[in-house]
């Protein structure tokens, strides 16, 4: 038995849990930063303005351009109105969004993550709030390390209240997509809005506050599935923010490089790329899951390269394949060729065909619909004069924003007549006209009576909107009669 060795410090079990390393990203200006600003303004603008756009649909439908009317099961998007049974349009849009992400990823890498993901946009916004209240990187680091005192508490509270205000504006805007925005806004402030509106606002305010204010890059690294999926989608032809180590290494300061010409690469190890990174990674370690390809390090490095008189692009958008080509002294692939490859074309074709299919269906759909449910218990009723009656529940769907006259007719059932539950049997006719209210489904119970000795057979109900030949529908149904008749 050996005496147990004394435990050395490096043998201490390393932690199974890691504390979050706070990120203090430095302010930077450059073309990608300006692009990010523009995209942020567009995204937030769309989010906040959309519910307030009005769209005249006549007296029978809401005049909000984009409205998800859950209570009445209607989805309005400008000139398009979707009923629940047409939900495949929404499913199609979601599939397009999914394939669109694939397309973007294979064409320009993690551009979604870097520019337009809500987590990125709001994190970016909150980081600007940090900068506004606490100053740039170094000031924020000092404040972070400073002990808690009245001044620090005051600054933190002020900053967090701005966080909360932004979060509230974010969470509060969401509910306007589900009800008439001006009405709901008034109800919201007067305390008469439905409880679900307050609950939704509260939940989304808190998620924005926590995810944008505090979780930030932890969401991308630990919680979001999309980076993990993307790692499987990236290949040597994918555009990545790349540190060209063949050009940068070995690193050395400007002074060192001047003293020993030819021994050092272009990287002067100024750490600016790390300082500006919103997720706190070092791009020089190669592509990692934390890199959302926001390209701010490109802006930072380009500026340094310009100041030190070296060519730009030490950190740049490049494919792994191109990096190898450049390393070997070959010219890089042309930009168009990077995007125009079989994979992106395939994604685009799939994406575009779904889109065209949806447009085609949207253009050719009819706003009149008939469904029929037959009474099955009893299947038929023998009347005293020997004739046979069947009952059906017809649902006449008027998917237009105006009331319409609709004619129901019986096709292929000789001698049959029908009447509805709000007519007397003596009024039975071959065709009925009903006024169907705007944007509604009217349920009508119809009795069809056929002369004695009519055999069981199929026939059709035809629905025709009066005055519009294209607006029609038909449904085949069974007519039951006693056996042996």
């Amino acid at each position: 038995m050996n005496k147990p060795e004394p435990i050395k410090p490096e043998d201490q079990p390393i932690g199974l849990y890691a504390k979050r390393e706070p990120v203090f990203n430095r302010r930077i200006d450059g073309k990608f930063r300006r692009l990010k600003w523009a995209i942020m303004v567009i995204c937030l603008g769309i989010y906040w303005i959309t519910p307030w756009i009005r769209w005249d649909r006549g007296p029978y439908a809401p005049n909000q351009a984009v409205l998800v009317d859950l209570a009445h099961r209607r989805f309005y998007m400008f000139s398009i109105e979707i009923w629940p049974q047409e939900f495949y349009f929404v499913a199609g849009l979601l599939i397009m969004a999914g394939i669109g992400l694939f397309l973007v990823t294979s064409a320009v890498g993690r551009a979604w993550c870097g520019y337009s993901c809500p987590q990125t946009v709001w994190t970016d916004l909150f980081q600007h709030v940090d900068r506004l209240f606490d100053g740039d990187r170094n000031a924020r680091m000092r404040l972070y390390k400073a002990p808690w005192g009245p001044a620090k508490i005051a600054r933190r509270l002020a900053k967090w209240s701005v966080y909360l205000a932004i979060s509230f504006a974010t969470g509060g805007a969401w509910i306007f997509y589900f009800a008439d925005a001006p009405t709901l806004q008034h109800a919201f402030w007067t305390g008469t809005a439905p409880a679900v509106a307050y609950a939704t606002t509260f939940v989304l305010t808190m998620t924005t506050f926590v995810l944008g204010g505090f979780m930030r890059e932890q969401v991308c690294i630990y919680m979001c599935p999309w980076p993990r999926i993307q790692t499987a989608m990236l290949d040597e032809k994918s555009l990545l923010v790349t540190y060209k180590d063949w050009r940068g290494e070995p690193r050395g300061s400007v002074k060192k490089a001047e003293k020993n010409p030819g021994q050092f690469g272009d990287c002067i190890d100024c750490n600016q790329c790390v300082a500006v990174c919103p997720t706190g990674i070092d791009i020089r370690e190669g592509p990692t899951i934390g890199c959302i390809t926001c390209a701010l390090c490109i802006d930072a490095c380009d500026r340094v390269m310009k100041e030190t008189g070296r060519p730009r692009g030490l950190i740049d958008y490049a494919t792994l394949e191109d990096s190898e080509r450049e390393k070997a002294g070959q010219p890089p692939t042309r930009h168009l060729k990077l995007i125009w490859r079989p994979r992106t074309i395939l994604y685009f074709v799939v994406w575009a065909s779904i889109g065209l299919g949806l447009l085609f269906m949207l253009g050719t759909r009819v706003h009149t619909d008939l469904t029929v449910a037959k009474d099955r218990n009893p299947p038929y009723i023998l009347l005293s004069d020997g004739s046979v009656r069947n009952a059906y529940t017809l649902r006449l769907r008027n998917m237009e924003g105006r009331p319409r006259q609709m004619e129901i007719a019986i096709e292929d059932l000789p001698g049959a007549k029908m009447w509805t539950e709000d007519m007397a049997m003596e009024q039975a006719t071959r065709a009925l006209t009903r006024m169907v209210p705007a944007d509604e489904t009217q349920s009508v119970r119809v009795y069809v009576v056929a002369p004695a000795n009519t055999a069981s057979q199929e026939f059709e109900f035809k629905l025709q909107a009066v005055g519009d030949a294209r607006e029609k529908d038909e449904t085949e149904v069974q007519f039951d009669a006693p056996e042996g008749q």
């Binding site: 043998d11 079990p13 099955r376 009893p378 009347l383 005293s384 009217q442």
Partner: protein, 308 residues
């Protein structure tokens, strides 16, 4: 722990264990993740105190909030009853003849009647109210006692041949065979005549003889043309609908040794509102008489919208 090292490919420290050359990288979990796990545990403890949670021998712990699924159901039933109270009160005060003038009440009554029918009536009349041998079909246009709302309600309240109810629908067809009122051959003749009324059999010498016996014995209730009389609850024998089937055997049997069905007097079993609802439902099955169309067309649309 001596084998701890930094993995070259990933630049990550290993945890130091090794099994047959397989090592584990130490990628530390974020600390907040651990906290959220603890928060879930704390929530679970709180939940199991507040709500029923731990199964014991006879029943589970009750939870300090006192919530039970049965209690919630009771609450919801109470709320539903409170919502229905207005309709029920309105139905209570309204004579059933006036019901068609109030389409939304009529609609509610038919819906309520359908539910009550499924509890009380389907045993004899069937789930679709189509009846069966000896039990009238309520969907058709043939009524023994009358098919308007008021008459249906009366039949429901007092029943048919219900002992002890002096207003019950009473009809007692004599047992012409069993009591020796007609001979066997006379019964066959009357059967031939009855079947000829609805065209089931052709007129014959037998039916001619039967006609004489019919006029002497049956016409007082069923009428000379056999079309029946609602006053006596005598069925129409000239139509296509038969309570006890329209075969020769069934008709002859009913003449010789008639069966007399009984329907309970529901007035002693159900409250007046439920009976009104049942009457409205039966009336709505397609054969209701003295039909009055609803007064305003819009109400139909409203009812449809409300039902959506």
């Amino acid at each position: 722990m001596a084998n701890k090292r930094v993995d070259e490919a990933t630049n990550t420290e290993t945890v130091g264990h090794e099994w047959d050359g397989i090592e584990e990288l130490n990628t530390p979990l974020p600390r907040w993740w651990l906290w959220s796990f603890y928060a879930c545990i704390v929530f679970a403890i709180g939940y199991s105190i507040a709500y029923p949670a731990w199964p014991l021998v006879h029943k589970a712990t009750a939870g300090v909030l006192g919530w039970t699924s049965r209690g919630q159901l009771d609450q919801e039933l109470k709320e539903a009853a409170a919502e229905r109270a207005k309709t029920v009160a309105a139905l209570k005060d309204m004579p059933i003849e006036q019901l068609p003038e109030h389409p939304e009440l009529m609609h509610a009554a038919v819906a309520g009647g359908e539910a009550a029918f499924k509890v009380n009536c389907v045993q004899c009349h069937g789930a679709g109210a189509a009846g069966s041998n000896g039990f009238p079909n309520l969907n058709d246009d043939d009524w023994l006692w009358g098919g308007d709302l008021k008459t249906i309600e009366t039949t429901l309240i007092h029943g048919v041949r219900q002992p002890g109810d002096d207003q019950t629908r009473m009809s007692q067809m004599p047992a012409f065979g069993r009591d020796g009122l007609l001979t066997a051959s006379q019964i066959q003749d009357v059967t031939s005549f009855v079947l000829s009324l609805s065209g089931r059999e052709k007129a014959s010498a037998a039916s001619q003889r039967g006609k004489v016996a019919f006029e002497a014995n049956c016409a007082v209730c069923h009428g000379p043309d056999g079309k029946g009389s609602r006053q006596f609850g005598a069925p129409n024998l000239a139509d296509a609908i038969w309570l006890y089937a329209g075969t020769r055997e069934a008709v002859a049997s009913q003449i010789g040794n008639p069966r007399h069905g009984v329907m309970p007097a529901w007035g002693t079993r159900l409250d007046p509102v439920t009976i009104k609802m049942l009457a409205a439902y039966v009336h709505s099955r397609g054969g209701g008489e003295e039909f009055t169309p609803p007064p305003v067309a819009e109400t139909q649309a409203e009812a449809t919208t409300a039902a959506e």
